[in-house]
Amino acid sequence: MKNSFCRSPVLSVIATAILLLYANPAFAGVIKIGLMAPITGAFASEGQDMQKIVALMVEEINKAGGINGDSIELLVEDDGSTPRSAATAASRLVSKGVPAVIGTYGSAVTEASQDIYDEAGAVQIATGSTAIRLTAKGLKRFFRTCPRDDEQGRVAVTTLSKLEFKHVAILHDNSAYAKGLAEEAKKLIEEGKSASIVFYDALQPGELDYSAILTKIKGVKPDAIFFTGYYPEAGLLLRQMATMKWSVPMLGGDATNNYDLVKIAGQAAAKGYRFISPPMPTDIDSPAAKAFLAAYRAKYNSLPSSIWSVIAGDAFTVLVSAIKAKGTNPSAIAEYMHQGMPAVDGLTGKISFDDKGDRKGDLYRLYEINGKGEFILQKN
């Protein structure tokens, strides 16, 4: 009886119609926004957090009446943390006719999707892709809410010389991002002659044992290690340095800004580790950041574990203000974002773009991990 009832085509049509009515009570328009994020693959934890944050912000905007009365529909595609699947993800979003896309994290992954969005005329706002070349291509509708590697390299070298480290070991992980940053830092140190580089090499991410590398670095007696790779390896390096009973100051890049680092290294080994990074939302004294953190905690009962997913939230904030002002025409949105848009109050501070699509302003800060595993913003 129950089965035949459900199978009745007329009933299901009526049911669908009722559902649709409830979904769009005011018959308002729907604005599609794409999110391309690494939901699976090596950066899956970043991507899943990006999705959580943007979905939360979409929900809040829709609850508050949407943009000019239109509700937002978020279309998420998985870039699989690889350039190859990013191209597929981009084509799928484009075929669904999104005017603007947020994403993605890895620079090489973003690069594989840039032309696809550009040819389709969509706006793209990258969120974790810091490689310099991405904005050097003259793409009119490409933006990023994260800073660039050369800026990070500059801040890192300034920090190293401020801390008076004379013999520096530079370690990267051969990824495009980490290698770029390491090369930038090396170049600046050699130009400035502020220190000597006693070691420069790369580790292989995903291998858990770095004691061979650490033994080798220990042999050249550096004052400090500058590690430009990601947090899992940074955590393991700190932990294995502690096992070796070797303590040398370690400075990291912004990809180590993740609380998992403390869990991996252990609180004792993580103490004193310094890294440079855009500020955490907890360190920004703006109403937008405070409200966002409260909402995130209420919904997911935790804090965002990395800054990069928060920067995806920044991209969404920018898009909302641009669409509010200019509608959904991608070219109009892009033009507005390049010029005319007043600085938007984002989760990581004020956001505005230069004519290349890079975020304006000095975003990097120095952090140090204290004995309780907390990230403490250092005063300049």
Partner: protein, 301 residues
């Protein structure tokens, strides 16, 4: 000299893990002529099961950290053995009579399945074993300081390998395993239950892999759902280096690979570490196509 010895112990510690894993590859290959690509993921499964057991059973409350670690390793070995047994039943046995390529594809499918299942259950983030289970003491060996845990990890791998070697070479069941590896049909005619022997191999290999997984978790702390790929690949290479299908070969290959990697990183270049290890592999295969201790060239395809 001190740095050399230090690097040697670094290499041996990693090599012990490679060797434990390589045994799983080599045993399955020896019996079924199948590369069990899911073996690396069974290792990951072991690491995650150990993590869950540790969190849920409150083993860290046991009086001695070493005792807790031992119990944990044994429990995880048992559970991963069951997973290996089921894997063979579901993914390999139905394909036993079909093309060898189908079984390889099935193995890759199983690998993808395990990896994604672990990601769905535990999330994509890396998980971290609780701190302070293992003692932090160190030993002085040959004038270099070696963390006690590192030494114990190596000793445990070695003990498991010796146990396996004894089992395969000195017991009746071991003789049956060797018989099945040489000729399944003849073994069947001699009254050996081939299916049971194959199931047994799929209990032993994954159990060793599971033990390696828990040891990795306990020592390095961090486990990720995709770590089986890197370690599986290295162990597979170790198995080939030593001569796939050959049990002492897998042990030798694993240790050797660990040492080559550590010394290559120390004296040539860290970034070229893997390239050096692979060059050595190629050289060995050019001069000894069956691996260091490999034999029976004729019946290897």
């Amino acid at each position: 000299m001190e740095e050399f010895l230090q690097q040697l112990t670094n290499g041996l510690a990693v090599g012990g893990i490679y060797a434990l894993l390589a045994l799983g590859y080599t045993m399955v290959y020896g019996i079924l002529r199948l590369i069990n690509f899911a073996h690396g993921d069974l290792f990951t499964l072991g690491a995650y099961l150990g993590f869950t057991l540790l969190a849920s059973l409150g083993l860290s409350g046991l009086a001695s950290g070493l005792l807790a670690a031992g119990v944990l390793i044994l429990l995880s070995m048992g559970l991963v053995a069951v997973a290996g047994f089921l894997l063979e039943r579901v993914a390999y046995r139905p394909l036993r009579k079909s093309d060898r390529l189908s079984a390889v594809v099935s193995a890759m499918g199983a690998s993808i399945f395990f990896q994604n299942a672990l990601m769905l259950v535990y999330g994509a983030k890396s998980q971290v074993y609780p701190d302070g289970i293992l003692p932090e003491a160190s030993l002085i060996l040959l004038g270099t300081e070696v963390p006690l845990t590192r030494f114990l990890m190596f000793a445990a791998s070695l003990a498991l390998m010796c146990l396996l070697y004894w089992f395969v070479n000195r017991t009746r069941v071991g003789a049956a395993i060797r018989a099945v590896a040489i000729d399944q049909d003849a073994a069947r005619l001699m009254g050996i239950d081939v299916n049971r022997i194959i199931s047994l191999v799929f209990l032993i290999g994954p159990a060793l892999g599971g033990a390696a997984g828990v040891m990795i978790g306990l020592y390095y702390g961090q486990i990720t759902h995709d770590m089986g790929f890197t370690f599986g690949l290295k162990a597979f290479i170790a198995a080939i280096l030593g001569g796939i299908g050959n049990i002492p070969g897998a042990m030798l290959g694993g240790m050797l690979l660990g040492i080559i990697e550590a010394l290559g990183a120390a004296y040539i270049s860290i970034a070229w570490k893997d390239a050096i290890a692979f060059c050595v592999l190629i050289l060995i295969l050019i001069f000894r196509p069956t691996g260091l201790l490999g034999e029976r060239v004729a019946d290897k395809v």
